[in-house]
Symmetry: C3
C-alpha cells in the first residue's frame, strides 16, 4: 500500500469500509479515541512450560497444547531449541501476495520466537545457521525439532484474544477483550 | 573504552568518579558486594496487551501507553508484527559517538523486541526483510506499523524502574528499587 | 542423525534404549500419550529484575543470581543491552561434534536472549553488529557487558526444572515437574 493510500485508509475510513457498518463504527470510535478492544489490562498471568523432543513440529504442537489446556489469551514468553526444517513467510508478503515463502532444510538454532497463540496464531521466529547467520519471518510451520524445544507460554488470566477481519490489512487481526465473568481463570 | 581504561574504571572508582561523591559511594558499595538497587525481586507481575494498526508508531505508542496506565516497572514480554520503516542506532554507537544510525524504508517483520519501557526506555529490535535477512539495533523510533503489532507488556507490581547517570557508560542507566508502600499495585 | 535414523529412534525406541529401562519406560509412556513431565502448568509466576554493568559476564552472572535466589524453574523473559565479546556454539554442533564455536570480539547489541536458567542452563542469543547484521547461536559465555544489560527473569512458582539425559539427543534435556509440597513458593 502506498503512503497516500495508507493515509486515506487511516483518515477517511467511511470510504474504505462502507460495506461493513460495524467495522466502520469501530474505526469511528478509534478516531474518537475510544479503542474498541485494542488494549486491555492489567491482568494476572498464568504460565505453562513444555519441552518438545526430536521430530515434533513446534507450531502444531503449540496449537494442540493451547486447545487441550483451553487457553483463551495465550502467547509465547520464551522458546529455546533447534530445528532441522522451517517454512517461513517473508516480509514482502501481504494478504494479496501471500506466496513469498521459504523452505529451509538445515540445522538451525531458535534465537527468538514471538507472538500470540490463539486461533490463527501469529508467530514470528528468527533462526541462526551453521555460520551464526540469522534468518527470520512469519512461522508457517514445518518447524521440526532437532534436539529440543523448551517453551514457556503465558495466559492473560482475565483477558480474551479473538481475531476479526481488519479491512485495512486484509487479515483477521487480534482483538483483545476482558473475559466474560464465567470465563475468568482463578490462577 | 579500551580494556585497560575499563579495568581502571572498575577497580579504581575513586579516581574516575571523584566529582560525584554519591556515585562514588555507590561504586564502593558495589565493590563491597552491596548492590544498590541493581537487582530486586521477587515481584508479582501484572500484564497488559495491545494491538497497534497500520500507520501507528510503535515506540511512541508504547511510551503513551505506559504513561496513560501509570506503569512504574514496565517491560516488553513479546511483540509480533510488521513495519514499513525503522530508525535504529547500531552497535558501534556510544555516549560520545551517537550518530551510527540507519533509516530503513521497506517492509520488515518484527522477529524480536526486547527491553524496558520506563522513561528513557531502552528497546532493541530485530527485523527480517524480504529475503529473511535480519537486521537489529537500538529502536530509536519511526517504527511505523505495516499491518499490525501485537504486544504484551509486563509490569513488576512491587518494583520501581528509574534511570540514573552511570559515569562508566555516559548514559542514564536502569536502577531497580522496591516500591514505596503507597505505590504497590494490588494486581 | 539422518532422517532415517531419526525415524527409527522415534518409532522403535526399544531397540535404541534397551540399555536404560527407565528411559525406555518413559518413551513408551510418551508413545502412549502420557507425557512424563514434558509439560506442566498452570503456574503463577514470580519475577526478578537485574542490571549488569560494564565488564560483568552475563551467563555466569545469571547462574550466580539463580543460585543466590534459589530459583527452581527460572527462565529469561527479556534482556536488552550490549557486549564487547561473545562465545557462541553454532547450529551444526551436536553432542558428538561440539566444536562449532565462534569467538566474537566487537561491540554488539543484544537483540534477543531466550531460554531456561536452571542448572546446565540453555540460552540462545542474537546480537547485532556495527552494520545491523545479526549473528546468533547457543550462548556459551564470555558475554562481557559493554554498557549495560537489563534483564527480567521469570520463576514458575509451583514447577521445578531439572535435566535428564535424553539418549535421542545425547544431551541432558529439560524435565518439567510439579514442585513437591514443601517447595512451593508463596509469591
Amino acid at each position: 500500500m502506498s503512503e497516500w493510500a495508507s493515509a486515506v485508509a487511516f483518515f477517511w475510513p467511511l470510504g474504505v469500509t462502507m460495506k461493513n457498518p460495524l467495522y466502520c463504527l469501530g474505526v469511528l470510535l478509534l478516531v474518537c479515541g475510544v479503542s474498541p478492544y485494542l488494549q486491555e489490562g492489567p491482568s494476572p498471568l498464568s504460565t505453562y512450560a513444555l519441552r518438545l523432543g526430536p521430530g515434533e513440529e513446534i507450531v502444531s504442537s503449540l496449537f494442540k497444547f493451547v486447545q487441550e489446556k483451553k487457553l483463551i489469551a495465550p502467547f509465547v514468553i520464551t522458546c529455546v531449541g533447534s530445528v532441522t526444517k522451517a517454512t517461513l513467510r517473508l516480509a514482502n508478503s501481504d494478504a494479496l501476495n501471500n506466496n513469498e515463502i521459504i523452505n529451509l532444510k538445515e540445522r538451525l538454532e531458535i534465537v527468538s520466537l514471538v507472538g500470540t497463540l490463539n486461533k490463527d496464531a501469529h508467530l514470528h521466529i528468527s533462526l541462526s545457521d551453521k555460520d551464526g547467520k540469522t534468518i527470520g519471518g512469519h512461522a508457517i510451520g514445518d518447524l521440526e525439532v532437532f534436539t529440543t524445544a523448551e517453551i514457556v507460554i503465558g495466559e492473560l488470566s482475565n483477558l480474551e484474544f479473538t481475531r476479526e477481519m481488519d479491512e485495512r490489512t486484509g487479515y483477521p487481526e487480534l482483538v483483545i477483550k476482558p473475559r466474560s465473568e464465567g470465563n475468568v481463570s482463578n490462577i
